[in-house]
Amino acid sequence: MDAIILGTNLVVTFSLFGNVKLVPLRVFESILVVAIFFKSLYFLRLIGEIAPLIDIIFTIIADIKYFMAIYLISQLAFVFAFYSIGKNQM
């Protein structure tokens, strides 16, 4: 996480002194914002009332990984099926 923040922040800063494409620059900016807000969870874990909530969320995410795999497979099945049917209407 630190490496992502350091890297994206350096890209965003050095874009001031170089000629950079705006589209990838905005992508880097968005990654930086997401990464830095997620890093704030590290500090929030020091607050007694918030720490269990963060732990619970990450434990749930770890526990549902197999459920998510099955869910994604079924989603993909319907995505491709409806994509194929949808082409009939064009």
């Binding site: 874009s15 705006l22 900016e29 930086l32 500090f43």
Partner: protein
């Protein structure tokens, strides 16, 4: 003992005092190895032993205060600077783009080239926004490096 029976703050209670030697955890290399091994343990029962409980409580109190006082303030400033940098950069871009509608602007130099296009008021506003986003990004870069060094240490 100076106990006063009808005042709760002047009552004495029995306490259990436990002392353990933990200097080796902080001073020796083996201490760091021990903590790393502890982190890898799958068996959570080990954390319920009195020795480990005391060590964890001691380290938590000591280091959480240090993190709150030394790492947290620059990190909060960093978050604020990132938000300022992103918002000011977008304001600057949309200002240049709205005043030069139809021009191709895909690179950062395209924006810089159009900085002095338009009336005096527009140029003054362009310059102000450019300076604002420049300072916000520099501030952001300085805090980024400070935070990284803080974390590595």
């Amino acid at each position: 003992m100076g106990e006063v029976l009808d005042r709760p703050e002047c009552l004495t209670y029995a306490v259990k005092i436990q002392c353990i030697r933990v200097d080796w955890i902080i001073n020796d290399k083996e201490g760091l190895k021990f903590l790393k091994e502890l982190l890898k343990q799958q068996n959570k029962d080990i954390f319920l032993t009195p020795y480990i409980l005391i060590v964890i409580e001691f380290l938590y109190i000591e280091y959480s205060n240090k993190i709150k006082s030394m790492l947290m303030p620059p990190f909060i400033l960093h978050i604020i600077s990132v938000i300022l940098a992103v918002i000011s950069a977008e304001l600057y871009r949309s200002q240049i783009m709205s005043n030069n509608f139809g021009q191709e602007m895909t690179m950062t130099y395209d924006l810089k080239n159009l900085l002095y296009e338009g009336s005096d008021d527009i140029v003054a506003l362009n310059k102000k926004l450019f300076l604002m986003q420049f300072l916000a990004r520099l501030f952001c870069a300085v805090l980024n490096i400070v935070n990284f060094i803080n974390f590595v240490q």
